[in-house]
């Protein structure tokens, strides 16, 4: 296991390096400059760009980049929060997204599971149809429509919640109430995802041979379902739930904008639009790292959850 993990980590490092390098060139190939003041004289503009080596040949820029990158330093932002270290920017923004995302996770995992289980147990009956339609609705209505409607009706019209998130840093009850709507809006998608996955996995597990054996042993349908089907159908769920856990560091562009949460959601697109290469590169790196780590964690966790891999051999 350890050896395998190390192998994977090395492979991951290589992949990551390639991603970062490719995106470096892609990013710098974008036309335009981070200085968007059209009134600024050309020579002044170039002088400022020179300070960041932006007019050097790409390969030279890449060398500069690599030098810092190897120390995991992406330099300072040049447009979004000029002169602030990229890693520091992320460190200040992430907590806001995390708060919302964690609660969204706490909400969507059980709800998603319950919906999924209910649907699987009642396959092709009314509850299944209702849940399936709900799931597709959750997936198909764009989140900005949901978020706007929630804000308008629950916060503005009914006044049950504040319109925008509270500014308290600590997570008080007050703060929680104020981020409840974004949590809700954010959860619809993951609830639907989990429910859909659970439904199909559990549905499959319910029809499996070992369920027949379990019932032949004398277990009731409920006992058999809980003791045999559930466990088996939850193993593949790691596939979508673990990425959700690592996904809590990211934010949602739309929802954060509507509820005024200063989180990660818009950083990437703003950085790209503003040609803030260091920030874009930094976000990209950390996200890719996270993404690859997630894949690794999923794979390794299968090794832990699934005895077929844990005890030896590989999954067929």
């Amino acid at each position: 296991m350890l050896r395998y993990t190390i192998q994977r980590l090395i492979l991951m490092a290589i992949t990551l390096f390639l991603i970062v390098s490719v995106s470096f060139f892609v990013l710098h190939a974008m036309p335009g400059s981070f200085i968007d003041d059209p009134l600024m004289p050309k020579d002044v503009k170039e002088a400022i760009e020179d300070k960041y080596h932006l007019n050097d040949p790409m390969i030279v820029q890449y060398k500069y980049f690599l030098k810092d990158f190897l120390k995991l330093d992406f330099g300072v932002s040049i447009a979004l929060q000029p002169k602030v270290n990229v890693n520091k920017i992320l460190a200040t923004k992430i907590p806001f997204s995390v708060q919302v995302n964690i609660f969204s996770l706490i909400l969507s995992i059980p709800v998603g599971l319950i919906l999924g289980i209910a649907a699987a147990l009642n396959k092709n009956k009314i509850p299944d149809h209702v849940i399936s339609i709900l799931i597709i609705l959750f997936i198909s209505v764009p989140s900005f429509v949901f978020a706007s409607l929630l804000q308008y009706f629950l916060a503005f019209k009914l006044g049950w919640f504040p319109i925008v998130s509270s500014v308290e840093k600590a997570l008080t009850w007050n703060k929680f109430v104020s981020i409840f709507l974004p949590i809700l809006a954010l959860s619809f998608g993951s609830i639907a995802g989990i429910a859909r996955y659970t439904r199909s996995e559990l549905g499959e597990a319910l029809n499996s041979d070992y369920m027949i054996l379990a019932k032949a042993k004398g277990l009731t349908q409920t006992q058999a379902t809980i003791r045999h089907s559930m466990r088996n159908s939850f193993i593949p769920l790691a596939n979508i739930i673990i990425p959700m856990f690592t996904g809590i560091l990211g934010g949602s562009l739309v929802i954060e904008k509507i509820f005024s949460i200063p989180g990660m959601g818009s950083v990437m697109i703003e950085a790209i639009n503003a040609k803030d290469y260091p920030v874009a590169q930094g976000v990209l790196f950390w996200y890719s790292l996270l993404g690859l780590l997630t894949i690794l964690i999923v794979d390794l966790s299968y090794g832990i959850i699934d005895p077929r891999i844990r005890v030896g051999g590989r999954k067929e």
Binding site: D36, M40, K83, F161, P262
Partner: protein, 571 residues
């Protein structure tokens, strides 16, 4: 707290306001709080800030030698000394200006502030290693400080630069050429690049190579020398300002505390306003419809005239070189519809210089109010379909085949898109879709400018902001030598006239200078390197508790004077 009226019916805002009407509410109800929203602040480093939102913040927290306020008596703006004892004096040629500073000036933390801080600040602003983007402000704008550019470029010593602290309380500025008083005053008014930075913090934040400083990136690194100081700053979320007790002019302002939330979604903003959570909201397009008849509406002008630039030197599309074609575009533009139906509050603008620009500072008179300017104006907002068709026929005849043009617009503006869509229809209808074919192209906005600079476009929207008080220097963008030129207009005559009005003999000749401006405007309108479209006017709504000191009138330079206004206390 702002959000604990959860249980109140929201309609309260509309119905129950009657009790607020009796203005004579007892004073002394605690600090006067003004609650606003705004966009994100990238930085509060006065040497590199970019957006007007940042400029706004800086005007609260960074003082300067002078300040501009609303004066009830003259019902207009007024310059008052802030850190300076009085307005500066100048030498005979009008190139050396001397400010005397007050003696007990202090930074937010109580440490003394004097002319040396100013000198240090300019030194840093122009530092060749720091390469601050606001540096050009002292060598590429209305005033040009001696050797500033050279120093910025690293080509001379600081001693050679025309900014000196003669002693602790005297600051001397040496200019390359004389400028009108107002231009100089304005250069040292309000918070911004010309405000001082606090040396110890600026230096402490400096990196080893002295190429970056973290000044103005957090509350701790943003010391105030203005009327307000930062009490709290959570990036992209909230800023709270409170009165700075050391400010010499703090009593001019009535507001004690400003709370500013970052809200980027306009619907959210309006809901917050209706909910009584904030005191002011802007209204655009469809949101404006809802309040079109609301008595709380006030309107603010802007210095930009948005225009449709024409690539008049295009080789690819030679018909763009034909002035008849460009004139056809000019006269076939239904500016009224654009202004009133798309932007709702905008003003149709068949001219170059915005109606917000002040041309006679002494009288507070705007250029458009002057008679010379009025003489330039075409009739009916320049909308004349018959004339347009006449011009077009000529152009069409000369070109001989169907004209295909592309309009580029900014991809982040729904309304610009609508203008483009409207123009496409109007032009095709006016000239016949068989003769002209208009295509649209959305472009990220700084790419749009890049395209126009490099002449890679046919038609494209754009506009120049420029200062409110110097319409002449704003003409620089149309001169041949301007480096970031987005139009293709080139005229020696125009350049000469421009030189004369900003650096030459006309500087101090009020009337001639006005006429010269009109002349330049006329040149542009004759050649039509761009078709002026409209002048945006923003609709703003203040809560009932805000009793604007200007009574809703927008004053150049000070807007509605909100911070000087009377506020009802919060419940």
């Amino acid at each position: 707290g702002k959000k604990d009226n959860e249980t109140d019916g929201k309609q309260d805002v509309d119905v129950d306001d009657s009790k607020k009407d009796d203005e004579e509410v007892a004073e002394d109800q605690g600090p006067v709080v003004f609650r606003i929203t705004g966009g994100k602040t990238a930085t509060l480093n006065p040497h590199i800030y970019k957006t007007s939102a940042e400029a706004g913040t800086m005007s609260y927290i960074f003082g300067n030698l002078l300040d501009m306020i609303y004066d009830k008596d003259i019902d207009n703006y007024k310059l008052i000394p802030n850190h300076a004892v009085d307005l500066p004096t100048k030498n005979e040629e009008g190139t050396v200006w001397t400010f005397k500073l007050k003696e007990d000036l202090k930074w937010e933390d109580g440490s003394p502030l004097n002319a040396r801080d100013y000198e240090y600040s300019y030194k840093m602003l122009l530092d060749p290693k720091l390469k601050n983007s606001r540096g050009p402000q002292v060598f590429d704008s209305d005033i040009v400080v001696v050797n500033a550019k050279k120093y910025w470029d690293g080509e001379c010593e600081w001693e050679d630069v025309g900014i000196k602290a003669l002693d602790d309380y005297t600051l001397e500025i040496t200019l390359e050429f004389p400028v009108p008083e107002m231009d100089l005053y304005l250069a040292f008014t309000g918070g911004g690049a010309s405000s001082p930075v606090q040396e110890k913090i600026y230096e402490a934040g400096m990196n080893e190579e002295r190429t970056e400083t973290d000044y103005g990136t957090s509350k701790e690194t943003t010391p105030s020398c203005g009327v307000y100081k930062l009490e709290e700053w959570v990036r992209d979320q909230i800023k709270v300002y409170v009165k700075n007790e050391y400010s010499p002019i703090k009593d001019v302002y009535t507001v004690d505390r400003i709370e500013s939330r970052v809200v980027e979604d306009e619907n959210t903003n309006v809901q917050l306003f209706e909910n009584g959570d904030i005191d002011v909201t802007g209204l655009s397009g469809p949101n404006y419809d809802k309040y079109a008849e609301d008595p709380r509406l006030v309107f603010a002008k802007s210095t930009t005239v948005w225009s449709m630039f024409i690539n008049m030197t295009s080789e690819e599309k030679p018909f763009l070189q034909d002035v008849n074609f460009r004139k056809a575009l000019f006269y076939a533009m239904d500016r009224k519809t654009i202004a009133e139906d798309i932007f709702k509050t905008a003003i149709p603008a068949p001219y170059v210089v915005s109606s917000a620009k002040v041309a006679v500072p002494s009288k507070g008179l705007t250029y458009r109010e002057t008679d010379v300017a009025k003489s330039v104006l075409p009739e009916n907002d320049g909308y004349d379909l018959d004339l347009a068709k006449e011009y077009f026929d000529k152009a069409y005849e000369a070109y001989g085949k169907k004209m295909e043009v592309e309009v580029q617009y900014f991809d982040n503006s729904e309304q610009m898109k609508r203008v483009a869509e409207l123009l496409e229809q109007d032009y095709e209808n006016a000239f016949g879709p068989d003769r002209i074919d208009i295509q649209l192209r959305a472009v990220p906005w700084n790419n749009a400018y890049d395209n126009m600079e490099s002449g890679k476009y046919d038609l494209g929207f754009g506009g120049w902001a420029g200062g409110i008080f110097n319409p002449w220097s704003s003409m620089e963008v149309y001169t041949s030598g301007f480096t970031s030129k987005i139009d293709q207009f080139k005229s020696e005559e125009f350049d000469k006239l421009y030189e004369r009005t900003v650096k030459g003999d006309l500087i101090f000749k009020e009337q001639e200078r006005l006429e010269a401006l009109a002349e330049m405007e006329k040149m542009l309108l004759d050649v039509v390197p761009f078709v002026p479209m409209y002048e945006p006017v923003s609709a703003v709504m203040y809560a009932d508790r805000v009793h604007l000191i200007t009574e809703g009138k927008w004053i150049p330079g000070v807007g509605f004077g909100v911070l000087q206004s009377h506020f009802d206390p919060l419940e």
